[in-house]
Each structure stands twice: as structure tokens, then as C-alpha cells.
Amino acid sequence: MSLVLSEDQQLLKDSAKAFVDQNAPVSVLRGLRDSKDDKGYDQNLWRQMLELGWAGMAIPEAYGGFEFGYGGLGVVLEESGRTLVSSPLIATVLLGASAINELGSEEQKSELLPQVVSGELLLALAIDEKPHHRPNRIETSAVKADEGYVLNGCKTFVLDGHVANKLIVVARTSGAIDDEEGISLFLVDADADGVSINRSWMVDSRNSAMLSLNDVKVGSDSLLGAEGNAYQGLTRVLDIGRIGVAAEMLGSMQQAFDITLDYLKQREQFGVLIGSFQGLQHRAAEMYSEIELCKSAVRAALFALDDTEKTDAQVAELASIAKAKLSEVATLVSNEAVQMHGGIGMTDEYDIGFYMKRARVASAFLGDALFHRDRYASLNGF
């Protein structure tokens, strides 16, 4: 397995960077925040991203996608992370479409994936129920009824939950609260009776929602994957999500570091550039080293997703390496970025604070560093 971008991936990365630089600076996110935008993402920008084919990046050609793989989606996420773009890329493209692609029936894929590519369909994955990510701990119940299931429960931290047309709900059809057996996935229309969605205004100004399901009736055709037996597929979907989010985090941390490095080269104190102080230099050199490791971890994990010879277990290990490492280093880099900027870094007017906020939310999403270190140890039998 190579860890170098292919020529095609490099071209895609360059064009994504150019597009983002020109069309989606951090001021877009700031504007959405300040105007308390209903959707929380820029629809015009999203339309352009759709035209660039970003929504179909990892979707097979058979379902209208461009089959560019997760390696391709990864570089797009990395570049959009550089300016903290808020778009349906994570919820719909990375998580939602992958869930359908990994778990869906032929009919579901044929019907829904082209709608993702075209932008008609927005998705959201509803899994967490408590403040901490524990994917096997599912209380939301799905009880078999005449012609389908009745869902009850609450979900939290549902990215894009308030704009999605369809929710992918993780529920329990059998088993005890911590069992991996008995977990099922359902496609639920956002406007179905009994679904109530409350937007959460998050610290990083990205979109999230809380969801409650009260006697929501769904047909059996809404089941995504086998009843009671979706945990393995869900795990792969979550690993895809973790790796993609790690790619986005990589872009954000690189940008935060670059901004800080520029500042060290411009800011004078006591008659010298502050970048000449060895104390700051050594910390910068250590951040650089950690970011290099992050880059390798993300590349390896993305490429493993596209490598059919890699087992789910190998992907799982690489996903946890990437998410643990990125979560740890994102916190380090963004905290250091604010500290090295001094007072100006504390002001809302300056962008660097946005990077710290995003770093922290992304670190928590789909498992923080502690979660993934624990998982890594378990996967490796210690």
C-alpha cells in the first residue's frame, strides 16, 4: 500500500484547494453564525460543490457516483477542513451515503444514492443517546408492529439532523442495552409523525440537532440491513465516518498551524520576531512533527477503505489510530495556536478561535482520543 497521493488525487486536491480558497473562506462560516442561518450551511456553495461532483465522490458509478473512492473524498474533506466549511459533506455524503452503500439493499441503493449525488436527498445519522459516544449502548427501541416497526427514543449530537430529509436511526430490535446483537438501522422520513427535531446551536457553529421519536411508525422496507444484525456494518460505517472526520481535522489543524507560523514570522516583541524565541520554536517543531504523523495516519486509513484486501478489522485499527491521534493533536495544535497568538487569539474578530472550537467538537464526534485508545487496546488484545 502506498501512502502517496495518486496523480488523480493530487489534481483533485489542488482543484479543491483552489475552489475552497476562492469560494469558502472562514468568513462564510462566520456569516452563517452571525445571521443565525436556518440551515447552517451556504446553499449556493453546496450547489457548487454538487456541480464539482463532491457528493458522488465515493459512490459507485452504478448508483450515479464517480467512484473516486474514499481517498478522493478524503482530500476534498481535508481541503474543506482548511477553512472550516460547513456543508452536508460529513452527514450526508460521508456518513449517510456510506450507510446506505454498506448496508442497503439493491433497491435502496438504486433509489437513494443517485439522490445524494444530485443533492436532492440530505441525510443524517442518529446514533448517540448520551453525552459520550458508545455505539453499542442503544436504548432507542424498534418494536415490530403489523406492517413494520414502531420507534421510540431520543438521540443527541445528530449532525445536520435539522436539515436532513431522511434520518438513519440506530435502534434496538432485541437484546440488552449494551448488546451488539439486536441493533438495527432504519430510514425514517424527517417529517414522519412522531419525529421531533430540535436544532442544537453548537460552539463550533456547525449544525447539529436533538431528535426525539415518539411512536414513529415505519414500514419494513425502511430497515437498512438485516434486522438485529447491523452492528458489524454500522461499525464499518462509523469507521468510515471517523476516518473522514480525521481527514477534515487534518486540514483544519494544518491551516491553524500555518496561520500561527505566519504570525510567529510577523509579530515583533522586545525588538525581535517572536518566532526567533527558542521556546516557541521547539513547540512549533513538535507540532510540525505531530502533524506529519497525523497526515500519515489519515492517508493510511483512507487508502485502506479503498483497498479491498483490507479486512474490517484492519480498517477498524487504522480508524482508531487516526481518530485517536487526530483528536489528540487537534487539541494540542489549536490550544497552542491561541496561546501563541496572545490576546488577539482570544478575540472573536480573529479567525483562530474558530479552529479551536471546531477542533474540540470534531474530537468528540464519533469517539474522542480516550475512546479510541481504549478501542485500539481492545482490538489488539491488551
Binding site: 453525552p131 436544532r199 524565541f277 472550537k357 474540540r360 480516550l370
Partner: protein
């Protein structure tokens, strides 16, 4: 030392006076909204706080030890301690919060002319004028002496141009005490003066600063040909750096006090789950006997142990300085370590609360959860304000450990 009997008389009189004059609602714990800052635009949410201020100011007890000549209480050190004790006995609120009292007053009493004292001190004592501090500038940062705001003499006035940043409550203040450059030809410390002027002066504007944690008391302040009377220059022309340093001592003492409190687990007297990181971790993970995330548990234990050792060190430092055991070399260390501990506390609180600590506002997040998020963001300034952690470490290295200064080689 005054005679004990005399002090005992004073205590009885004070107790009686307070009993008679301190309104009932002024004997309850302070609430943020009712803090009295005084000034021309003073607001009194609770009308009794106005009465309380006036009665205390009349006796000069807003500034108990300042000379009666300028409106102060004229109390001896011993008497002022008794006054504090008696106020504490009935939980009396402080009648007035004021940078005039905590910062400007002491240096004005030391270095001001008789006329300056007559003009400004009584209004500070009575809370009639609210002051703000014009020190930092956008370009100066840790290197305060590099300030650029210029004051040029024109007749009996200085014409001031430039801007200040981090001026707390500048938008609410009446007057400013301000460092300005009055000579650009000499080494930077030697061309600074300390001057006072009215914030209503034409050419003075302010703009509140929003922090990453939300609204703040800080402002940017701009001077565009603002004119200040030359007679309001304190301590002599180009002698402002000495005044500034004296005043900074007061400010640093205040801030390291905050750091200390923060690090000892005191989040300002609230009693929510958030006061204890370990309880918060258990609550938000649904744990009963121990924190179920073992890595988090270990980190919290380490944090608590460091906090305990830090609290013991603060205590020891205090005891040693009382006993005069060596110079109090630990203040920079305590400032720095206390701030870092407070930042660690909030990082751990965020890890403990999970997604409930990631809200900004609105439904779905309790007030104390939002407060943790905002305070986490605000805590990042702990290691910047009042001397960055880098500056504190430099001070420890040079002054405490006696290591040589490379910068002085560069600057030669």
C-alpha cells in the same frame, strides 16, 4: 500600635454604626447584577445599594485608610482590619467596586501633586467618577513599553493620538489613566508619561471586544486628536514607566488571586456538579462508584493531586513570606502554574461532559453546561493576561534560577 482599649471602643462604635446603617438587602450575598461600579452613568438595580454607598462614602469607608484630607476614612491599619471584620460579621457587601480604588488611587496618593489629589481622590472615594486603564496597545502585547500612543504638547494641553486595547469597561468609564509616549527619541522606557483625561473628551471613542467566549468587559479605545490638560500628567514628564510598574504590581496581585481561586476548585461559590471534575465525569457518564473511562480517571486523579500540591504550595508560600524566609520568589511560578491548572480543569470538564459541553446557546443545554463551555474558552486567556506563561517562565528562569538572558545579548 494603638491601645487595645481604644481599638475595642472603635470596634463597638463600628458595629453599632453598621448595625444602624447597613440596609438589610446589603447583608445578603452579592449578585452580579447588583455590583456597584459608580461613575456618572452609575446604575443601582437595587436602590438600597445607593443608600449604602452614600453612607459609607460619607464616612470615607469606601477607602478606609486613605487620608481624611481627600475624603478617605483616615483609619489606622488596625482599625481598617476591624472594619473588615465587622463588615464580614454581618455579611455586608462591599459598597463600591472601582479601579480608581484598587489601581489609580494608591499611585496618585504616592506620586500625585496636592492639586491632583484634591481633584480626583474625593470623587474616587464617593464613586462619582469611574476609571479605566489605558495600558496595552494592539502592537505591544507582552512588551508593554513598546507602546505607540503619542501625546504632543500644544500650549497647556497634550494632543493624544493612538489606540489602546484590553481597556476593561472603557465604554462605561468616565476618565482614563493612560500611558502615552511623550518622547520617541530616547530608549523606549524613558519616553513614557502617565496622564489622566476625561473619556468624554472629543476624539475619544470606544468599541467593545467580543471574545471567543462571547461578550466581554474589554474594549478597544481610540484617540483621535484628543486633548488632555498638561496639569493632569502624573509623576512628571517621561516618568510614566515607574508609575506604570507600581500600578502593575497592584494588577498582578489581583490576577494571581484569581488564578489561585480558580485552581483550588472554587468556581465562584456555585455549587453545581461542575464544581468537581470527578463528580461531573461520573454524572455525565452515568457512573456510580468510579469513573468508567479509566484514562480519564487517571488524568483527573493526576489533576486533583497537582491541585492539592499546588494549594499546599500557595499556603506554604504565604507562610514563608510572612516569616520572611527568603524573598518570595514563587509569585511567577504560582501565577503560571495556577493558570495552567485552571486550563487543565476546563479541558477535563469538557472531556467529562462530552457533547453536553459543546453547546453555545439555546435549548438542549443547561445553563451550567453552557457556562462550562464559555468558561473553558475564557480560561485560554489565563495564560495570556497579566503576563503570558512564556513571560512568567522567563521571569522564573532569569530572576529565580539566575539563568543568563540571551535577549539582552541581542539587544546590546
Amino acid at each position: 500600635m494603638q491601645a487595645i482599649a481604644q481599638l475595642e471602643d472603635f470596634r463597638q462604635e463600628t458595629r453599632a454604626w453598621l448595625e444602624a446603617n447597613c440596609p438589610a438587602s446589603m447583608r445578603t450575598p452579592m449578585v452580579d447584577a447588583e455590583v456597584v461600579w459608580g461613575g456618572r452613568k452609575a446604575t443601582f438595580v437595587n436602590p438600597e445599594s445607593k443608600i449604602w454607598l452614600e453612607r459609607m462614602a460619607e464616612k470615607g469607608w469606601t477607602t478606609p485608610t486613605w487620608p481624611t484630607e481627600y475624603g478617605g476614612g483616615g483609619l489606622s491599619k488596625e482599625e481598617s482590619i476591624i472594619l473588615s471584620q465587622e463588615m464580614a460579621r454581618i455579611n455586608a457587601r462591599p459598597p463600591l467596586n472601582s479601579f480608581g480604588i484598587s489601581m489609580l488611587g494608591p499611585v496618585l496618593l504616592e506620586s500625585g501633586t496636592h492639586e491632583q489629589k484634591m481633584e480626583h481622590i474625593p470623587k474616587i472615594v464617593r464613586g462619582e467618577i469611574r476609571w479605566c486603564q489605558g495600558y496595552s496597545e494592539p502592537g505591544s502585547g507582552s512588551d508593554l513599553a513598546s507602546l505607540n500612543t503619542k501625546a504632543v504638547l500644544d500650549g497647556d494641553e497634550y494632543v493624544i493620538n493612538g489606540s489602546k486595547v484590553w481597556t476593561s469597561y472603557a465604554d462605561k468609564a468616565d476618565w482614563i489613566f493612560c500611558l502615552v509616549r511623550t518622547d520617541s527619541e530616547v530608549p523606549k522606557h524613558a519616553g513614557i508619561s502617565f496622564i489622566l483625561f476625561d473619556m468624554d473628551t472629543p476624539g475619544v471613542t470606544t468599541k467593545p471586544i467580543q471574545l471567543i467566549s462571547g461578550m466581554s468587559p474589554f474594549c478597544e479605545t481610540f484617540f483621535d486628536n484628543a486633548r488632555a490638560k498638561a496639569s493632569n500628567l502624573v509623576g512628571g514628564l517621561n516618568n510614566g514607566w515607574a508609575i506604570a510598574k507600581r500600578l502593575l504590581q497592584h494588577e498582578r496581585t489581583m490576577i494571581s488571586g484569581f488564578g489561585l481561586a480558580g485552581s483550588q476548585g472554587d468556581r465562584g461559590g456555585t455549587t453545581s456538579t461542575m464544581d468537581s471534575v470527578e463528580r461531573a465525569a461520573m454524572h455525565y457518564r452515568g457512573d456510580t462508584d468510579k469513573i468508567s473511562d479509566p484514562g480519564l480517571r487517571d488524568e483527573i486523579a493526576q489533576f486533583k493531586i497537582d491541585s492539592a500540591a499546588f494549594a499546599l504550595t500557595s499556603q506554604r508560600s504565604l507562610e514563608e513570606s510572612k516569616q520572611g524566609q527568603g524573598p518570595n520568589a514563587t509569585s511567577s511560578m504560582l501565577k503560571n502554574y495556577g493558570c495552567e491548572l485552571n486550563k487543565r480543569r476546563y479541558e477535563l470538564l469538557l472531556s467529562s461532559l462530552g457533547s453536553q459541553a459543546l453547546g453555545w446557546e439555546g435549548e438542549g443545554f443547561a445553563n451550567d453546561e453552557i457556562a462550562v463551555t464559555r468558561e473553558w474558552l475564557r480560561s485560554k486567556a489565563n495564560s495570556i493576561e497579566g503576563g503570558t506563561s512564556e513571560v512568567q517562565l522567563n521571569v522564573i528562569a532569569k530572576r529565580v534560577l539566575g539563568l543568563p538572558d540571551m535577549l539582552s545579548l541581542v539587544q546590546k
